[in-house]
Amino acid sequence: MNTIGISVNGHAVTASVEPRTHLADFLRDHLNLTGTHLGCEHGVCGSCTLLLDDAPARSCITLAAACDRARVTTIEGLDDDEIAGELRAAFTREHALQCGYCTPGMIVSARDLVLRLDDADERAIRVGLSGNLCRCTGYVGIVRAVRSVIDDRRRRGIAPLPGAAREQLGPVGSTSSAGDGGPPAARPSARAGIEQRPAVTIPDFVPDRILEDHFTLASRPEEVFAMLGDVARVAACLPGVALTGNPTPKHVEGVIRVRLGPISTGFRGAARIERDPATMSGRIVGMGTDHHIRSSTRGEVRYRLLPVDAGTATRVEISVGYSMQGMLAQIAREGLVRGLAARLTAEFARNLERELSGAATGGPTRPAASIDGVALVFDRLRMFVREIFRRT
C-alpha cells in the first residue's frame, strides 16, 4: 500500500492505495466517483478521460500512486464549471449523446479543445476528439456542439489559451518536486508461485508458421545424426531453453524463455522426440504454457541430414514450426512475433552448427546477452526467487 495525498474536485484526500490500482478504479471504488467510466483500460477509448493538473489524461493507464500531490477533476467536479456548462447546453441541444457512457470523457476532452483551439475549425475539432470514441451518435451532434461553444466564446471575445496555459514540463500529474516515496521498506514479493504440473502426452499438430534454415558440416551424416541424438546438446542450442528433470531419448521437459520487448514469457512444457535413422531425419514436437500470460505455444523442430561431398560432409536442413494460443497470440502484432521467430530460428541454426562442428566453447551454448537485437534473458535470479517462494 502507498499513501497518497491528492486533491479531488477541490477536496483534499489522503488515501492508502495498492500500487497497481489505476486512478479510475481509485476514484470509482474508493471515492464512489462513478462518472469516470472505463471502456477499454488500454488508453484507446477515452471514456476515462479526466483532468489531471487541469489537463486531460487517461485515468485507466495512470496509477493512482503516481498522482500523489496532483489535482484531479472528474466530471462530477465540473458541475459548476463555466465551459462545461456551455458544453452541456450545446450537447443537449445538438443531441450529442445517446447512451451517455462516453459523455463524461467527451466533455472533458471537448472542454480542453474549447480552451485551446483558435477557432471552430471542424477538422481540428474532429482530430482533437479522436481519442474519445462514441458508439452511438456518429459524432455529428458532438462536433456541432463543440463548434458552437467555441464559436460563441470567440465571438464573445474570449481568446484561446495555447497549451491551456500550462507552463510546467513533464507528465501532467507528476509534481516537479517529486514525492517522498516513503522509506524503501522491504517489498513484499508480488508474485505467486508456479504450480508445477506433471507432463502430459504431446498431441500431434500442424504448425501455422514454418521457418527454414540450413548449414553444412564437415562430418559424415551418421556422426551428425548420432550427435543429434543427444537431447541435452540439441536443447542447449535452442535459445532460451532450459531442461528440467532428466531427459529420455524420447521425452524431454523444460522451459523456454523468450522476451518480446517488455513482455517476458516462460513457456513450461514437454517435448516428444522422434528419430528415423533410415531417412536421417528427426522431429521434436513440444508444447508449453505460460500461465501468467495465459498463453501456450506448440512448436516443432524438424531436421534432415543430406550427404554432400560424397558423404564426407553433411547438409543439415532444419525447419522450425510454431503456433501460439491464448493472450499472446491475440495481443502481439503478427509481424513482431514473426520477426522474433525468424531470429530465434537463425540463432538455433548457428548454435547447432557451432555445437556440432565442435567449435563450441565448453559448456552449453547459452546466448546471454543480445542476439540480433533480441535479448533472451535466462533469468536465473527469478527462478531462484520462485524456488524460495514455493518452499514457504
Binding site: 495498492e18 490500482t21 470509482r28 471504488d29 466517483l33 462513478t34 469516470t36 467510466h37 472505463l38 471502456g39 483500460e41 488500454h42 484507446v44 471514456s47 472528474t74 466530471i75 462530477e76 458544453l87 452541456r88 450537447f91 443537449t92 441541444r93 443531441h95 449523446l97 445517446q98 447512451c99 451517455g100 457512457y101 462516453c102 459523455t103 475539432i125 476528439l129 479522436s130 470514441l133 462514441c134 458508439r135 456518429g138 459524432y139 455529428v140 451532434g141 458532438i142 462536433v143 504450480e195 504440473r197 502430459v200 498431441p203 499438430f205 501455422d208 508444447m287 500461465h291 501468467h292 495465459r294 501456450s296 503456433s323 501460439m324 491464448g326 493472450m327 497470440a329 491475440q330 495481443i331
Partner: protein
C-alpha cells in the same frame, strides 16, 4: 408525405408527437450521474473474475486450483443442478447445442468460461484466476465456416455428425430465370464483428432474504427474457428473481442475450449467499463475448438486358459460432437471409439455401440490422454488377425493379408484407442530391491528386416491430405478443409510465413522454418513464428489432387513452356536464364554457374521493393496456444511401466526400432523436464497411483483442451526412410510426463498397469482402496489375 393522425389535439406541438424535444435523460449523463451496472455499490460486494479457455477447441483433462484458494474457485463440478443454456429453434432439422455455464468436457471457443473466482477486488480475483491451471488437450479448431461444412471436418458438437445447426431453403421455381441474357455470379463475404458498445456487459447479483428473491442487476435490453432464461437454468420460480437493468452504455443487440456469466453470478448469490459483481472488460468483450455478421454468399443474379431482374439464386452460410445463444438462437441470421434477400425488389423467380454453421468461435447474436446488413451488402453489390454487365447506370437497374408506391401494401416474392412507402421517390431524391451527372463528369476530368472518384448507392428496407405471427414460425424461446404499458397519474398531476422495454440511448424516457403528452397534454417534464425492472414493469420481450417505439409507444398511447377517458368522465361530473360534451385539451377537460385541469382531477381521485361521482370507473387514473398493430407483420422503413468516395490507389485510403441519406421512417415522434439514430447507425455501418473485423487464425484464436487492433471509427472517420426525411405513415400503427433504430447501420457497407468499386473499375478491381480495408484495396489493385501483365 402524410400528416400525423392526431388522436387528440395538443396546442404545444413542441412536446408531442413530431416535436424535436431535447432529451429528459441528458442531464444525468452529462454530469456523470448515470448509473450503469459497474456503478452499483452494495455492502459486501465481491468481484468475480473468470478462468477462460485459451484454446478454441480442447478437451478438459483437469482443472488445478491451488490449495490456498480452494473455496474461492468454482467450476462446473460445483454447479450442481444448474442447467446449460439452450436456445432451440422450432424450425425442422435444427440441431440443439447445450451451452454449459461453466465448461464441461470440452471447451468450444476461446474465452469460454471454465471457472470463476471471487475476491474483494477484481485485481485479487484475477490473481486467483491466474493461479488456476487448465490441463487441456488441444483439438483441431473449426475456424472457417465453409470448411466446417466439409466432410471430415473436426466437430464442434461431436454427436451431431456435422457442423450445421440448420439448413433452410426458400424457393419459388428458379427455372424460368435460367435463360436470362444476363447472368452474374459472385462470392461475397462479410467479416466477423464484435459490437463493442463502449460499456461491456456487467452483472451484480445479491440475494434479498426479506423478499426471498435473487436481485440481478444486469445491463440487459430484455430484462424479462433474462428472467425467463435464468429461471430455466437455475430451476427456480420466476417470482424469486428480480432483474434490474439500469442505465446501459450502448446495446445494439449485444445486451440482448442471456449470458453464462449471469447464471454463474446468480448461482453464487443463491447458493453461496455472496453479493458479487462481474464487469466485462474490453479484452473479454473482444476475445470472449458474442460476435456477429460473418456471412458468405455464393450468389447468381439473372436479368434482362434492360436490367429487369429475372431471378436470384443464392447459397448463404453464416458462421454461428459454437453455441445457440438465448433467446434468438444460432439460426436467426441465416434463416432470415433467405426471407429478406429480395427486399423491395420485384422478381419472378427466387431460390436461396442457407446454412447456419457451427465453429469454434464465440456464439453470435443479432447486431443492429441483424442479417440485413449482410444481405444488403450482397444484393446491392450484385445489382451494380448487373448494371456493369448491362451497361446501365446502377440507379437505372434499381429504379427498374423497385416496388412502386401504387403497389402498396406489397407482398414480395418471399411474402414479406410491405406496409407503405415510395421507394422510387426516395431513389430520385437521393440521385438529385448526390448529383450523379456531376460525379460522372468529375470522373472524366480525373483528380489532380491522382485519387479515383466513385459513387455508390444502396437501398435497404428494415422490417421492424414484427410480432407474434412472424416469431411463432421461428419457434425460438421468445415470441412477442401484446406489448403492455402501465400509465398512472400521481396525486399532484404527474404521470408515471411503466414499460417492459428498455431505453439505452434511444431516448425512450423522452419519446414515450411525448406520446403521453400527445394524448393527455401533460407537460413532459412531469412524465416519468420507469423501465428496466421486472418488479416494476409489465412483461415484455424487451428492446430489440426496432420495436420499442411502435410497440411500447402504442401501449403507452393506449394506456393514456384509457386514463383520458376516465379523467374526462370524472372531469365532466365535477364540471356538472354530460361526459359526452367534454373534450381533453392541453391537459384540461373542457366543456363549452368551463374546464378543469387533470391535476385537479387527480387530486380529487386520490385525495378527495368523497367528491367523486358514484358511477366512477374504479380503475381510476391508472391503466395497464396491451397493444399490437393492426397487422403484426412489421413496419417497413427504408432508405436510399448515396455516397461519393475518393480512393487513394497508393495507400488504399478512402475519403467519404459526400453522403446522402433519404430515409422514410413513417411518422417521426422526435425527429431529432431519429436523426441521431441514423447518424449513429451510419457510423456503425462505416465501421462495418471499412474498419471493423475480428480475424481468427487457424487455431481459432481471435486476433483483434484490444481497441488498438479492433478499430472503431472515431470522429475523423465519420462524415456528417445530409439527411432527407420522407414520412409515409404506416397504415397499421398508432400515429403511423415505424421502427427506425437499425436502418442506419444496414446500407453503408454496400453503398461505400459500390462507390469504391465504381472508382476502381478502370483498374479492373472489384471488392467483394467487407471491410474494404486500405490493405485489401492495395492488395486488390496489385493483384489486378499483376493479372494485366508486366506491361505498365
Amino acid at each position: 408525405m402524410s400528416e400525423v393522425e392526431r388522436l387528440s389535439s395538443s396546442s404545444t406541438p413542441d412536446q408531442g408527437v413530431g416535436a424535436r424535444l431535447p432529451r429528459k435523460e441528458d442531464d444525468r449523463f452529462m454530469r456523470g450521474r448515470g448509473q450503469y451496472v459497474a456503478d452499483i455499490r452494495l455492502p459486501g460486494l465481491r468481484d468475480v473474475a473468470f478462468v477462460r479457455s485459451p484454446l478454441a477447441h480442447g478437451r478438459i483433462k483437469a482443472i488445478h486450483v491451488p490449495e490456498r484458494y480452494s473455496g474461492l474457485v468454482f467450476t462446473a463440478a460445483d454447479l450442481f443442478g444448474v442447467k446449460p443454456i439452450r436456445a432451440v429453434s422450432g424450425l425442422p432439422g435444427f440441431k440443439i447445442s447445450e451451452q454449459p455455464v461453466l465448461a464441461t468436457g470440452k471447451v468450444r471457443h476461446v474465452g469460454e468460461l471454465v471457472a470463476m473466482c471471487a475476491a474483494p477486488t477484481r485485481a485479487e480475483a484475477e490473481d486467483i484466476a491466474a493461479s488456476v491451471t487448465l490441463d487441456l488437450e488441444p483439438l483441431p479448431a473449426v475456424y472457417d465456416m465453409r470448411r466446417a461444412r466439409e466432410a471430415g471436418s473436426a466437430l464442434v458438437h461431436d454427436h451431431w455428425g456435422d457442423n450445421v445447426f440448420l439448413e433452410s431453403v426458400f424457393e419459388v421455381d428458379i427455372t424460368p430465370a435460367l435463360d436470362a441474357p444476363i447472368k452474374v455470379t459472385r462470392e461475397i463475404s462479410t467479416a466477423r464483428q464484435c459490437m463493442s458498445p463502449l460499456e461491456g456487459r456487467g452483472v451484480v447479483a445479491t440475494f434479498d432474504h426479506r423478499l426471498d428473491q435473487l436481485t440481478l442487476y444486469t445491463g440487459a435490453q430484455m430484462p424479462h427474457i433474462v428472467r425467463n432464461g435464468l429461471s430455466d437454468c437455475l430451476g427456480i420460480e420466476q417470482g424469486r428473481i428480480r432483474i434490474i437493468s439500469p442505465d446501459i452504455g450502448g446495446g445494439f443487440g449485444h445486451k440482448g442475450i442471456l449470458l453464462p456469466e449471469e447464471v454463474c453470478l446468480s448461482w453464487l448469490a443463491l447458493e453461496k449467499g455472496l453479493t458479487v459483481r462481474w464487469i466485462e472488460d474490453r479484452y473479454e468483450h473482444l476475445s470472449a463475448s458474442a460476435n456477429c455478421r460473418e456471412h458468405y454468399y455464393n450468389i447468381t443474379v439473372y436479368a434482362d438486358r434492360d436490367g429487369r431482374l429475372r431471378g436470384i439464386d443464392c447459397e448463404a452460410t453464416v458462421d454461428s459460432g459454437a453455441y445457440s445463444s438465448y433467446p434468438f438462437s444460432a439460426c436467426l441470421e441465416a434463416a432470415q437471409v433467405a426471407s429478406i434477400l429480395p427486399g423491395p425488389y420485384r422478381m419472378p423467380a427466387y431460390r436461396c439455401r442457407t446454412f447456419s454453421a457451427a465453429t469454434n468461435k464465440c456464439p453470435i447474436l443479432p447486431y443492429r440490422g441483424v442479417a440485413r446488413t449482410g444481405v444488403c451488402f450482397a444484393l446491392e453489390i450484385m445489382l451494380d454488377a448487373v448494371a456493369a454487365e448491362a451497361g446501365l447506370e446502377p440507379a437505372e437497374v434499381r429504379l427498374r425493379n423497385l416496388v412502386g408506391p401504387e403497389e402498396m401494401p406489397f407482398d414480395n416474392i418471399t411474402k414479406k408484407h410491405f406496409d407503405s412507402g415510395n421507394y422510387p421517390e426516395a431513389m430520385r431524391r437521393a440521385l438529385a442530391a448526390i448529383d450523379i451527372a456531376a460525379v460522372r463528369e468529375r470522373q472524366r476530368r480525373k483528380e489532380p491528386d491522382g485519387r479515383l472518384i466513385g459513387v455508390g448507392l444502396s437501398v435497404y428496407c428494415e422490417q421492424a416491430a414484427h410480432g407474434t405471427s412472424v416469431y411463432a414460425g421461428w419457434g425460438i424461446p421468445m415470441v412477442p405478443g401484446h406489448e403492455q404499458a402501465t400509465a398512472r397519474m400521481t396525486p399532484d398531476g404527474g404521470l408515471e409510465i411503466r414499460v417492459g422495454v428498455h431505453s439505452h440511448g434511444q431516448g425512450l424516457e423522452t419519446t414515450l413522454a411525448q406520446v403521453a403528452h400527445e394524448i393527455l397534454g401533460i407537460d413532459t417534464a412531469k412524465v416519468r418513464v420507469v423501465h428496466g425492472d421486472t418488479a416494476l414493469t409489465p412483461y415484455s420481450t424487451g428492446t430489440w428489432g426496432s420495436r420499442s417505439m411502435v410497440m411500447a409507444g402504442g401501449a403507452v398511447g393506449t394506456a393514456c387513452e384509457a386514463i383520458a377517458g376516465r379523467a374526462k368522465h370524472i372531469g365532466a361530473k365535477l364540471l356538472q356536464l354530460d361526459p359526452a360534451s367534454v373534450s381533453l385539451r392541453d391537459g384540461r377537460v373542457c366543456g363549452p364554457n368551463s374546464s378543469i385541469g387533470l391535476a385537479e382531477i387527480a387530486h380529487t381521485w386520490y385525495r378527495r374521493p368523497h367528491e367523486l361521482p358514484p358511477d366512477v370507473n374504479p380503475g381510476g387514473l391508472e391503466a395497464t393496456s396491451g397493444y399490437k398493430p393492426q397487422r403484426d407483420s412489421g413496419t417497413f422503413s427504408y432508405a436510399v444511401h448515396a455516397v461519393i468516395v475518393a480512393v487513394d490507389p497508393d495507400l488504399g485510403d478512402i475519403e467519404l466526400l459526400d453522403y446522402v441519406i433519404v430515409e422514410d421512417g413513417g411518422v417521426l415522434v422526435n425527429p431529432m432523436i431519429v436523426d441521431g439514430q441514423i447518424y449513429g447507425g451510419l457510423a456503425q455501418g462505416i465501421g462495418t464497411a471499412l474498419y471493423e473485423e475480428m480475424p481468427f487464425d487457424a487455431e481459432g484464436q481471435p486476433l483483434a483483442t484490444t481497441l488498438a487492433d479492433y478499430l472503431l471509427p472515431g470522429p475523423t472517420e465519420i462524415p456528417e451526412p445530409r439527411l432527407d426525411h420522407m414520412q409515409t405513415a404506416s397504415p397499421y400503427t398508432m400515429f403511423g410510426v415505424k421502427g427506425i433504430g437499425e436502418g442506419g447501420a444496414i446500407a453503408p457497407p454496400a453503398a461505400i463498397t459500390n462507390a469504391v468499386n465504381d472508382a476502381l473499375r478502370p483498374l479492373g478491381v472489384e471488392l467483394l469482402r467487407s471491410p474494404i480495408s486500405a490493405r485489401r484495396i492495395v492488395e486488390a489493385i496489385l493483384a489486378a496489375r499483376e493479372a494485366e501483365g508486366p506491361a505498365a
